[in-house]
């Protein structure tokens, strides 16, 4: 599974390098593919009839995970910022995107600097890529609480709402996938505010 994912990234990278003019065809394709993916995620939820009765039972605990993930990301970026040439606040700003590279890159390069925008883009892109690789490793062995394996989707941050959700669902099951979707949605809603907040200190 991980090998196939790596292969797809490499193939995409090579195609992009040698055929960059295709990007105008690829952009609308991504939109359609994401919508189809959403449809299939919904389908999976809809077919699982026990899912929602259980969600009612422990709905409150599901809000805890995105808050923990957000706090952990900011803490990690803060600590590593001491050792990086770009600076602590810059590092925290990059970390506050929780994996949403397509938003954090443009926002930070526009509001702060091109350099920070590129770092934010790469850091969050790498976060999404490593989530694809980490979830299969974490999902099978990690501890579960109320049938949810929060460690399986913690690396994904905001990306577990869409792009990395199918991996989580495949590895850890629909119940963890639902928790991951809620976590990713809450984190995604936080990202625009977080980015603006930290960028406002850097201007």
């Amino acid at each position: 599974m991980t090998l196939k994912i790596l292969l797809a990234v490499l193939l995409g990278g090579l195609t992009g390098f040698f055929q960059p003019q295709l990007s105008s065809y690829i952009d609308p394709f991504v939109t359609i593919a994401l919508l189809f993916m959403m449809f299939f995620v919904g389908l999976e939820f809809g077919q699982d009839r026990e899912l929602f009765s259980q969600l009612k039972k422990d709905g409150c605990t599901l809000i805890v995970y995105p808050l923990l993930i957000a706090f952990g990301s900011l803490l990690g970026a803060f600590v590593i910022g001491f050792f990086l040439p770009i600076g602590i606040l810059e590092s925290v700003a990059c970390g506050s995107a929780f994996g949403w590279y397509s938003l954090s890159g443009p926002v930070l390069s526009k509001m702060v600097s091109e350099e920070l925008g590129t770092i934010a883009f790469l850091a969050n892109l790498l976060r999404e890529l490593s989530t694809f690789l980490l979830v299969p490793l974490l999902g099978q062995s990690s501890k579960s609480r109320n049938g949810i394996k929060p460690l399986a989707f913690a690396p994904g941050g905001a990306t577990t709402m869409d792009s990395t959700l199918p991996v989580v669902s495949r590895v850890a099951g629909p119940k963890t996938a639902l928790a991951a979707f809620i976590s990713g949605t809450i984190l995604s809603m936080l990202v625009p505010f977080m980015l603006q907040f930290f960028a406002s200190f850097l201007v």
């Binding site: 077919q47 990690g76 970026a77 040439p85 770092i119 790469l122 913690a154």
Partner: protein
Amino acid sequence: MTFLFACLIALGLGFFCGRIFTISKTVTSRISWGILLCMIFTLGYGVGSNKTILNNLSSLGLQALAICLATIIGSLFTVKVYLKWRENHDT
């Protein structure tokens, strides 16, 4: 914003289809797996076709990698601490 709404509509549509029809799980997981691989391909394509990112990949990439690892470890750490705390709390 429009895209977010479109996503929610697709999600809801899928949900109701799942309630009404029963489609074999192997079929749906195979299709979503195929879509996923296409998405990852386009992700790689975005990096490969962007010359500015490719040229600065080594210098900026190291710092980006450090931040990426720090945020992942940080998130795993807080969730792990919470799980441990709840475990002790329950018993």
